[in-house]
């Protein structure tokens, strides 16, 4: 029985990522997964307004962080302060990759 999902992890240790790369990949993710034509999206846009409006959005973003950046997201990490904007998510990922 494999009821407990296997969360995909990618090992990125060989290719350290800079903040600009992380931020750009996050922005691309939000444009693709949460399209909002006509609404501005910048690194400081409040994601909890138009983008991450339900828990499914938070779940999908968390799974993206884990699979794309190989970070380990725990119960203490899934909080509004980390998901507020692309800037905050970038801080969070960068902090996890280079503690």
């Amino acid at each position: 029985m494999v009821a407990v999902p296997e969360r995909r992890r990618v090992n990125h240790e060989a290719t350290p990522m800079n903040r600009a790369t992380i931020s750009a990949q996050l922005e691309d993710f939000f444009r693709r997964e949460f399209p909002n034509p006509g609404v501005e999206l910048t690194a400081s846009t409040d994601l909890l307004q138009n983008w991450l409006v339900d828990s499914l959005g938070i779940v999908n973003t968390t799974l993206f962080l884990e699979s794309r950046f190989g970070v380990d997201v725990t119960r203490a990490d899934i909080r509004a302060e980390n998901f507020q904007s692309i800037d905050r998510l970038t801080d969070f990922v960068a902090g996890k990759l280079d503690p």
């Binding site: 999902p5 909002n36 034509p37 339900d54 899934i78 998901f83």
Partner: protein, 503 residues
């Protein structure tokens, strides 16, 4: 003999007077305080409201005040109508028009108001006199309406499902017995008051003297915050929509929570994914797991199942067996009864929970509340759910296979796709539309045509002026034309086939 749902609270307010009854983000009220505050609001409400069977809108977020309000409405012998305060103005207007004569309980910084006038509804204010309460309650009986809950309609105008006191009493007595609920229960509420799953939480609390936690909705956005709440408050019973559990399972959040106090997990509102059910059993082996099924029109639930050892071998999640005082009938496309249903048989519900119909809407009422097709010997009303299903020959349980129309469930919310299409087609420039629900990604996707072939700018924000947030499509695709079937109807399957994946 109990006639009115409010009688539950009349008994428990004395037995459990100093115990916390309702808890929200701002604090809690005891049973005695809840009663006093409701008497106080009823005192003002009684002066504003005249006549029999008058709907009183509760235009409040989920909070202690909202519970005070729905008790106060019962004390003056009227019908409460929980509204989603986020309902956009135009939709709200249509709902109020459907109600006809009505009053509104709302709130601003200074406190509660009735029809815009501030009222003192604190525990120390003047209360409605006991003999006046008695007179108001004596004038009502068990088949009088208790509440009206609105649900999405295909015409774009929501329908007001009208439920009697008797139906709620029957349902709550069944639930209290089936789930062995006593005053030791700490209930964690997820459903907003305008979604009838909250009826179980509220009236079990009133009936048994439980403590009800109205978990702040924002905690359901970041699920660890919700799980922290269950852990800290030692919640013992929850009745949530399956989406919440599916999201918990996707992140395997229960690996970090033991939740030893959580003994009863109930779910309803949409199909429970089989892997999510197995996940819950694996992570919370000590908890009772129960699936429930029922549209608002039959009073919360008509079918239920408590899972046992069979979970491991399940390939689909059954709805289960009928609740007490409920009978399930299957009918085919021609309306003829078919004993055990089938892939294209509609589930119909007969019994104590069947609603009084749709408020002020005899036409839509007679379309779905029909004479039991099995006989014509006496007046026997069954509700046609629109859900398709059958009773399995293998385990004797009822299973659901789909819908006969375009109603979907999104995060537990019941939505008629036509309701969204009506709103979309009212936007300037949109000539035709078709909304699809992608069940795999749980996304609403809108396809539309426009007069000059121009793309809509900022469609989500414009639709938000007409639809509640959970009905807003995630993606919008402009099409040159909407494909139709030979008889001219929108060909929903072809739209998704042609434009779905790569669009």
């Amino acid at each position: 003999m109990q006639r009115l749902a409010i009688e539950y609270l009349i008994h428990t307010k004395d037995r459990f007077s100093d115990k916390a009854a309702i808890v929200d983000a701002d604090g809690h009220v005891t049973f005695a305080e809840l009663w006093r505050r409701a008497l106080s609001l009823a005192h003002h409400l009684g002066r504003a409201v005249d006549g029999r069977d008058v709907p009183i809108v509760i235009d409040l977020p989920k909070c202690v005040d909202a519970v005070v309000a729905l008790v106060a409405v019962q004390l003056i012998g009227q019908i409460y109508v929980p509204f989603d305060p986020a309902t956009p103005a135009a939709r709200r207007r249509r709902m109020l028009d459907t109600l006809g004569e009505h009053h509104i309980i709302g709130r601003d910084e200074s406190g509660l108001h009735v029809d815009g006038h501030s009222v003192d509804a604190t525990a120390t204010g003047d209360g409605m006199a006991e003999e006046r309460v008695r007179a108001a309650l004596n004038a009502r009986n068990s088949i009088d309406p208790l509440y009206i809950i609105f649900t999405s309609g295909t015409t774009g105008t929501p329908k007001g499902v009208t439920i009697s006191n008797a139906s709620v009493i029957d349902y709550i007595d069944w639930a209290a017995t089936t789930y062995r609920v006593s005053e030791t229960e700490v209930i964690g509420n997820q459903a907003p008051l305008f979604f009838d799953n909250s009826v179980l939480d509220l009236y079990l609390t009133f009936a048994k003297g439980c403590t009800l936690h109205l978990i702040p909705p924002e905690r359901f956005l970041f699920l660890p915050e919700m799980l922290d709440y269950l852990e800290e408050e030692r919640v013992s019973l929850i009745f949530f929509v399956p989406s919440v559990f599916a999201n918990i399972a996707s992140l395997d959040l229960l690996a970090e929570y033991a939740l030893p106090d959580l003994r009863k997990i109930l779910f309803a509102g949409e199909p429970m994914p089989v892997n999510t059910l197995k996940y819950l059993r694996q992570r919370l082996p000590h908890a009772l797991l129960s699936n429930l099924y029922g549209p608002t029109e039959i009073t919360v639930d008509a079918i239920y199942w408590i899972f046992g050892e069979e979970i491991d071998s399940l390939r689909a999640v059954p709805l289960g067996v009928p609740c007490a005082n409920t009978r399930i009938i299957f009918v085919d496309e021609r309306g003829e009864p078919v004993p055990d249903g089938g892939a294209h048989a509609e589930i119909c519900v007969a019994g104590a929970g069947v609603a009084l119909g749709y408020w002020n809407d005899p036409q839509r009422t007679t379309e779905v509340f029909i004479q039991n097709p099995e006989h014509r010997r006496y007046h026997d009303i069954v509700y046609k759910t629109g859900d398709l299903g059958y009773r399995s020959a293998d385990d004797g349980l009822i299973y659901m296979t789909g819908r006969k129309d375009n109603q979907i469930k999104h995060m537990g919310y019941r939505i008629e796709l036509e309701d969204i299409e009506h709103a979309l087609e009212s936007l300037h420039g949109v000539t035709q539309s078709a909304v699809h629900y992608d069940t795999e990604h749980k996304e609403l996707i809108a396809f539309y045509c426009s007069t000059n072939g121009a793309e809509l700018s900022d469609p989500r924000r414009r639709l938000a002026e007409q639809l509640p947030p959970y009905m807003l499509p995630r993606r919008f695709h402009l099409l040159p034309a909407i494909p139709t079937t030979p008889n001219g109807k929108i060909d929903r399957r072809r739209i998704w086939q042609d434009y779905g994946g790569g669009a």
